[in-house]
């Protein structure tokens, strides 16, 4: 890669990382019959929050009520535990490779931290909103859906990355 850069961060070879991730998808299907996910855990958190603050509102809502189990908390959910694991696993890798530091903002060369944070929130809002229509995000729908030959998974995959390329020009100042 870039030989002039001696401060290059140490990452896994991407193809090796991809093989590991593919094997993990297979192992997850083999053990649980389901795939990985991420946005589902945030959805459970939203449902739990609304149910705690406004229980009647949550139970009368046609959307939240679908995700409130009768005898347990919405947080008692496979994806919530899995996402907690993702935090731990990310931390473990960060510790091993020396990337865990105090909270800081990463942004492109031609933008400010404040602007980066505003766009991070806005991007998150859109991603969270869109993931509900998409029945999952890049993990559950695009990656695992496509890998298990789901038609919808491939639709979401093409749609996310196709749109990304289509609109990248308008947000280039954020990154390059």
């Amino acid at each position: 890669m870039n030989k002039n850069n001696n401060k290059r961060p140490h990452y896994l070879n991407p193809y090796f990382g991809g093989v590991l991730l593919g094997l993990l998808v297979i192992a997850t299907f083999y053990i649980t019959g389901r795939g990985l996910g991420a946005s589902g855990a945030v959805k459970s958190t939203v449902v739990e929050t609304v149910e705690t603050l406004a229980p009647q509102h949550a139970e009368s809502s046609p959307y939240y009520s679908k995700y409130i189990p009768k005898d347990t908390s919405p947080m008692n959910n496979w994806l919530v535990f899995e996402s907690f694991g993702v935090l731990l696993g990310g931390l473990l890798s960060g510790v091993i490779y020396g990337r865990v530091k105090k909270f800081r903002v990463e942004h492109g060369a031609h933008t400010t931290s404040a602007k980066r944070l505003v766009f991070a929130v806005l991007g998150g809002v859109l991603f969270g909103f869109g993931s509900q229509f998409g029945r999952g995000c890049t993990s559950g729908a695009a990656l695992v859906g496509s890998a298990s030959f789901s038609f919808g998974g491939v639709i979401v995959l093409i749609s996310i990355f196709g749109t990304g390329y289509a609109v990248a020009y308008f947000f280039r100042k954020l990154w390059i």
Binding site: L12, L92, H107, S148, F151, I176
Partner: protein, 220 residues
């Protein structure tokens, strides 16, 4: 490599049997009590792979859209083809009953719209949900703000849901696979994806070389 397990209820036959059929939890080979322990362990592996591949950095992720870093494409496509081919082998050897795994349902127009909105969110926010969790884990404030955005976005969706409930539930095709829709057997899709992936790896490596020459301050 078939897994050997000690089987107590085989009685008259053999004390060992070859464990053939996953998924283990739906088939009651592992009881549901282990579900959440397994969830955390699988999550740890997932988070580790994402972070170690560089997905805790929004600049690495956004690079796929600007040609200066195709790590997303490499990891993602490799994972898809490994998993596709692997699942077919597991099915072929009788280790995994593919009819028992969860196939993501298809709601055609809502999922296209969802993907479009997520695509814009990806370029603006520089993360997707899973990668933002690993960013938070190593101390990225932008990842934390992205995750707060996710929470707000899903909350807004939940509150506004009655206005687009009909659209949300439209285009329901059920839990269909590519084979169900096209009539083409799954191995052909695995082969097709592999060919596309290999071509993409080669083309993007060439693009990356050219684009990186003009980026001095970014540590690859």
């Amino acid at each position: 490599m078939p897994l050997l397990i000690f089987s107590e209820n085989c009685g008259f036959n053999s004390t060992f049997k070859i464990l053939t059929m996953g998924p283990l939890i739906p088939n009651d080979i592992i009881t549901g009590d282990w579900n959440f322990v397994i969830a955390i362990l699988i999550g740890i592996a997932f988070g580790f792979i994402l972070e170690a591949s560089g997905f805790s950095s929004s600049r690495n992720l956004a690079g796929v859209f600007y040609g200066y870093n195709f790590v997303v494409l490499r990891v993602f496509f490799t994972a898809v083809i490994v998993a596709m081919v692997g699942l077919l082998y597991f099915d072929y050897f009788g280790w995994l009953d593919l009819s028992k795994i969860f196939i993501l349902p298809t709601f055609l127009s809502p999922m296209i719209l969802g993907g479009v909105i997520m695509g814009v969110g990806f370029v603006m926010g520089g993360f997707c949900p899973g990668t933002s969790f690993t960013g938070i884990a190593i101390g990225k404030t932008d990842a934390l703000f992205f995750a707060i955005g996710l929470f707000l976005g899903i909350f807004i969706f939940g509150e506004a849901y009655p206005y687009f409930a009909n659209f949300y539930n439209s285009g329901n095709m059920g839990n269909v696979t590519l084979t169900d829709v096209t009539g083409i057997a799954a191995p052909w899709f695995a082969l097709g994806f592999t060919v596309i992936a290999l071509a993409a790896f080669w083309v993007t490596a060439e693009i990356e070389k050219k684009v990186r020459k003009n980026m001095k301050e970014y540590k690859f």
